[in-house]
Amino acid sequence: MRSRLGPVSWIALFLGISYFLIPLVATAIFSTETSRNGHDLSAYTAVLGDEGFRSSLSFSFKLAVATIVVSTVLMVPTAYWVHLKLPALRPLMDFTTILPLVVPPIVLVAGFGPTFGIDGPPILGGQGSWFYGEGIPGNVPPLLVGAYTVLAFPYVYRSLDSGLRAIDLKTLTEASQSLGAGWVTTLIRVIVPNLRPAILNGAFLTLAIVLGEFTIASILQYTPFSVYISSVGQSSGTQQSSLTVIAFLLTWGIMLALLRFTRGPGGGRRGAPTQGAR
């Protein structure tokens, strides 16, 4: 039996890896170019010193933190409850949490107009209300947080689902309750610590999704990091590439942190995060 890689594999690897690396290297070099054919880091200092950079990045992180908190508080008890009490509804949960993949962000945001905007019945106040971030600490719009929580459903739920499958819920719950703990105590002090890798995994994927999301934010005219990059790109080529490098390093940082912190029992199979592509 042959156990060496054939030429086709080597060619595919060579092509694929060069294709992956060339744009990164080219962008990094491009970002240091100066008008006099030299190289320096002036584009980076210009970008880092820009007020828009700091405010958009901090807005993105606020959005990410809010989304992670909302989706954890919403999804952990739900997933626990469904696994423990309503196993018959597990297919329904699988189905519901996969729906955001069927409704692309551009379609979802198209539906936001007639549902929450001036076009339709203003169920939640319409533009300029608290729902759009008016008067909310950090101006974090509940509408955007809600949308991002939905976008993260497939990844967060899948992560929690495999985490919950890996632990013996019934025994843990029974043990905790026979010691006198109520549901809330059981959830916070027994289930959550056991699910930590799965929860962290979901949180990091959510962070990556929120930092990369462009479609919904730009159509609703907010300026998180991704929208800021797009606006700078139109004025300066080197600043555009330096921002690209920064965005790439941020994504790397998040994914490495994900790998570093989510190893362990209950982490389950890591889902492939792909929402940024949209």
């Binding site: 594999s9 992956f20 080219a26 491009f30 007639p114 169920i123 309750q177 790109g233 690209t244």
Partner: protein, 301 residues
Amino acid sequence: MSAIAPPTDGFVPSAPRRRRGRRSLAFLGILPFLLFTGVFLLAPTIVLVKASFQDPAGAFTFENVRALFQGELLHAYRTSIEISLVTALVGGLLGALMCYAMTHKAAPRLLRAGLETFSGVAANFAGVPLAFAFISTLGTVGLVTAWLKDAGIDLYGSGFTLFGFWGLALTYLYFQIPLMILVIAPAFDGLRGEWREAATNLGATPAHYWRTVGLPILMPSMLGALLLLFANSFSAYATAYALTGGNSVELAPTLIGNELSGDVLNNKNLGYALAFGMIVIVTACVAAYWLLERRAARWKR
């Protein structure tokens, strides 16, 4: 969720009637989730679908949906489908070959760790930064464009443009190939060594093995992965927007985006119908993917 519960709640057999009552109470536990999903996902989708069957005055009509099969809108769909097909097939092929190489037992272990981590990053490194990376590389003043020019190859002179269909396809591959690697790796892992040994013992050559054993087993997963890639590319908006400004290549998502931020179609309901059409196509892909995955799961038992 009530904080008061008997210690063995739910684990002792109880009378049928009591249990029914308890189940309906248990149902309350997922109410917050259902409400949330209703507000942020179902309501916008239902309103959108309804609006695509209405004229601007609010009366019921099939006119918008009929318009999808004509002129500019049909063309946008066709371009979207073409770019999704091309990038799913090319990305799927290259991704599958790379995945085969990295899961091969002769491959260095570092290769797999590196490729998988990179794929996780690259699948997320999409949208605006991705478009800019390609502009820095292959744009009119991009680095590789300049190098090739020095080497005597004039890319843009020979008709290539990053801002057209093929440039966009080349850029999409940057998230399509990694997605393929991530999605198909479990299927390659599922190919058991014994099957290969059995085939070899019976006198099969590697080509023979792949044609009669390996590929037929992988086929449902492969087709499923291709459908997922298709849907992924079909839904992509940010990358196309950043690269083409939503104009030089007209796709279904960028047309919706243009409609939402300006008023190009002069009929918002037409934009909603366009979005409704996207839901239909993506739903078909994801449903077919789901069926194929179930078929593929047979071999994982």
